[in-house]
Amino acid sequence: MSFRIPQNLDELAAALREKDENTYLCAGGTDLVIHLRKEKKFHYSLIDLTHLPELSQITETEDSVIIGAGVTMTELEQSPLVRTWIPALSKAASMVGSTQIRNRATLGGNVANASQSSDTTPVLLAYGAEAEILDGTGAVTKRLVDDFVEGLEKTTLGEREVILKFIVKKQHVLSAFAKVGARKAVTISKINGCICTEIKEGCMMHPVVYLGAVGAKAGRARLIEACLEGQTLSGCDEEKIRDAVYAQIEENIPNRPSKHYKKSAAFGVIDQILDDLRRAEEEAGR
């Protein structure tokens, strides 16, 4: 059993080279510690990811925002860069767990755990985010988040791979996120969603809509996108949107008993997001 605390990427790659199936990568630990205890696992090795400065920064280039995989939900919520360029991500992070959880839980962990209720994944998917992934040879590759997250706690990341950072292209869009859980705060999403849309002459153009927790993995809601295309934020046709949302949920989970309440919950989520987008549009116009 070993506990390694790599301090730089060379040490991390070296730790990955020796990693076996009984070794876990640990960032915030908010899921892993509980999971290992639930599974009654007591003998394992760990690679700590919280002592790597490379993983804990948010930076920008001319065309992208780059977020370290070890950046916490609190940092995402407070970062001016994230609030400016990816407001939906800042909002999603602000709604994860409690203050204590947000102070530890990381973006990399939220994505790599691949829970169907992940709050940040729908946002990263809506923005077409990429991730930089390090393997045990020290090689770094780039992959779309959409290509390696499978949902239901599964990804196609290799045994000896770790996410280093996420790259989100700067886009001139408005975005917002909302969720519904069993209670108002400190809650796991029963359903969540993100809309990311261009606005031209007051109309939504090429809106990208993702819904989470209605299937193994957050999925693109093309029926809702088609309905929103060309609509103004101030004069949305509520009935049409409700029909599109209900049809989308029916398509996603036709055989689940939960589909009945998820239809009205999903409409509530989309309605809330459109409200937030309206506010963002007003602020942008000021």
Partner: protein
């Protein structure tokens, strides 16, 4: 593993099992039993401590992860025999009943006041949304923190 960290202002080095939870390390190895175990799932906040001045649930942190970090538990708030303003306020406002949630509750509030010395009631409520109290109904707790934020209790 020889774990090196700062606990309540004192630099320590202790041989411990790094895959232990921080909660167990503090209680069993350091004798700091002010850290309470509640739900063991990061939900109730009874085990809240400060890690580099931020509130975290010590039941979801591995002991080895606090290498070279700074931890504060409820035992570390008192200075030279005098209680912290928050502790005084909790006593004066009747914000302590059974007391089990109190250490975690006070540390969540302490972290809030480090970042925001004059929080609004809404900000106080958000800071303690991860700390469950089954006795007080929260009203007196919020009033106690508010009294410190407003400078009424020092």
């Amino acid at each position: 593993m020889l774990l090196r960290c700062m606990i309540n202002g004192e630099q320590i080095e202790k041989e411990t099992e790094p895959t232990k939870r921080l909660l167990d390390f503090l209680r069993e190895d350091c004798g700091l039993t002010g850290v309470k175990e509640g739900c063991s799932e990061g939900e109730c906040g009874a085990c809240t401590v400060l890690l580099d001045r931020k509130a975290v649930t010590s039941c979801t942190v591995f002991a080895g992860q606090v290498m070279d970090r700074e931890i504060t538990t409820i035992e570390g708030l008192e200075q030279n025999g005098e209680l912290d303003a928050l502790q005084k306020a909790f006593i004066r406002m009747g914000a302590v009943q059974c007391g089990f949630c109190t250490p975690g509750m006070i540390l969540s509030c302490k972290a809030l006041l480090y970042e925001n010395p004059h929080p609004t009631v809404e900000e106080i409520k958000r800071a303690i949304e991860g700390n469950l109290c089954r006795c007080t109904g929260y009203e007196k707790i919020v009033k106690a923190v508010n009294a410190v934020g407003e400078g009424e209790i020092k």
